[in-house]
Amino acid sequence: MKRLINQVPTKTTNLFLGLLPFLLIVIVYISASAVRLTENPNDKLLPSIEKCMDSMGKLAFEEDKRTGEYILLNDTIFSLQRLAIGISVSAIFALVIGISIGIIPYMTSTLSPLIWFFSLIPTMAMLPILFIVFGLGEVSKIVLIILGVAPIMTREIYQRVREIPSEQIIKVQTLGANTWQIITRVITPQILPRLIDAIRLTLGTAWIFLISAEAIASTEGLGYRIFLVRRYLAMDVILPYVLWITFLAFLIDFILRQFNKKLFPWFGKE
């Protein structure tokens, strides 16, 4: 008998084992839900799957009577828009500042303590300040994402720039490169795939800030919706929404990963 650490499952077993916990959760949920519903058909805590699909179907495919909008689509668009703007601004900030403090010693001295300070502030504590300064509109939600994500991303990019071997930087100087050329032709192209990875890493954090900001002050968005229907204990909406958000997060991560693979074939192989 081989040691446990040397027993490797085959491909099919691997797949089966991976799916097993999900299957168990679904079975447990369905049976628990059935038990509760036979006791009380109006039970809200564990709605049946049909009920969830029905409620979700209404939100997804029927126009809202009051506004004439498809609620799920509308919520998704608003949330993704906030997320995209927040992440894009953070990424551009991280790229510019991270590279500058990574390669120019005077910039390191000037900016790196500040970035470090900001990355330590618990971002949610800044939310009241943002609401006071920027009001309850879109800006404060996006700024919250930026404040939460940009410092982490910047530190990440800074680290990755520092990891570029000094031999390489010296070598390109002997090939006649000036500082600007080193940044644009040597550092940035090598950092771009790492920036994509940094985005993937911080997306989870960005979602937290997005949902939180939407929960507190908003009139549309995925986070707003689940916190709104919470008042009616509408688990039949909340559960599918959470799954939908998870799916979106997975999809974005998947796209970014494919993006890296296609665009930077050399990445991760040096």
Partner: protein, 247 residues
């Protein structure tokens, strides 16, 4: 006028003396191989020649003028590793030196200029034996090919002085021999100065026209860094090679 001249150079870090009263002079076309025990300051001296380190005391001159304080395209370098750009393929790794020179803002050439740069790079790649791999990325190359590429990168800049920091230290013995042939051939064609740091004494004598031995003259058992190294032996190895060529 000598290419590099060092007069009474000292390098001291705190209480540690690394180099002590070192004198050195070399001309165009000379191939100086630096040998000596590890930690004897060969690499420190090479760093000074590269421009990323300065002597604590003494005078270092490049073509009779004050030594440049940072690396420039007059002095090329091949390190043991990490000299190539992993995000560019072989030929783009070579033309980048030309692009830096001709396109100050974009660092990139287009159209006719790019075509000329590629032609130049093709010649050099042929010389170093990489013409069949010009579209590969560095991660697809073997260790020896990477070093060939690194040499090609420097050659395109026509440096006056080529510095080699144990360039073949990480290669298999058979590959090293190929690299020796390549280096000897390039050096005999182009008349630039070479300074190579190596651990391998036979390599030093095979390639160098001069072999410079670094070591300490005085030693102190209790405090090994009280005295620094200097060049204890300057051996003319050029005649030996000519004899070999005659055979």
């Amino acid at each position: 006028m000598s290419l590099v001249k060092a007069k009474n150079i000292w390098k001291i870090y705190g209480n540690d003396v690394i180099l002590e009263n070192l004198n050195f002079s070399m001309n165009d076309g000379e191939f100086c191989a630096l040998v000596g025990p590890s930690g004897c300051g060969k690499t420190t001296f090479l760093k000074m020649l590269l421009g990323i380190d300065e002597p604590t005391r003494g005078k270092l001159l490049f073509e009779g003028k004050e030594y440049p304080k940072e690396p420039s395209d007059e002095r090329g370098i091949v390190f043991q590793r990490y000299s190539t750009l992993s995000h560019l393929n072989v030929i783009d790794n070579v033309i980048i030196g030309l692009e830096f020179e001709k396109s100050k803002f974009f660092g990139k050439l287009f159209g006719k200029e790019k075509k000329e740069a590629y032609e130049k790079a093709n010649e050099i790649l042929k010389a170093v034996g990489l013409e069949d791999s010009k579209n590969k990325y560095p991660h697809e190359l073997s260790g020896g090919m990477k070093q060939r590429l690194s040499i090609a990168q420097s050659l395109v800049k026509k440096p006056k002085l080529l510095l080699l920091d144990e360039p073949f230290g990480a290669l298999d013995p058979g590959i090293s021999l190929d690299m020796h042939e390549l280096l000897l051939e390039i050096h005999s064609k182009l008349n630039f100065g070479v300074v190579m740091v190596t651990h391998d004494i036979s390599e030093a004598f095979k390639l160098g026209t001069r072999v410079l031995v670094f070591d300490k003259i005085k030693t102190d058992k209790d405090f090994p860094n009280r005295y620094g190294s200097t060049i204890v032996n300057d051996i003319d190895a050029s005649k030996k090679k000519e004899r070999k060529n005659e055979k």
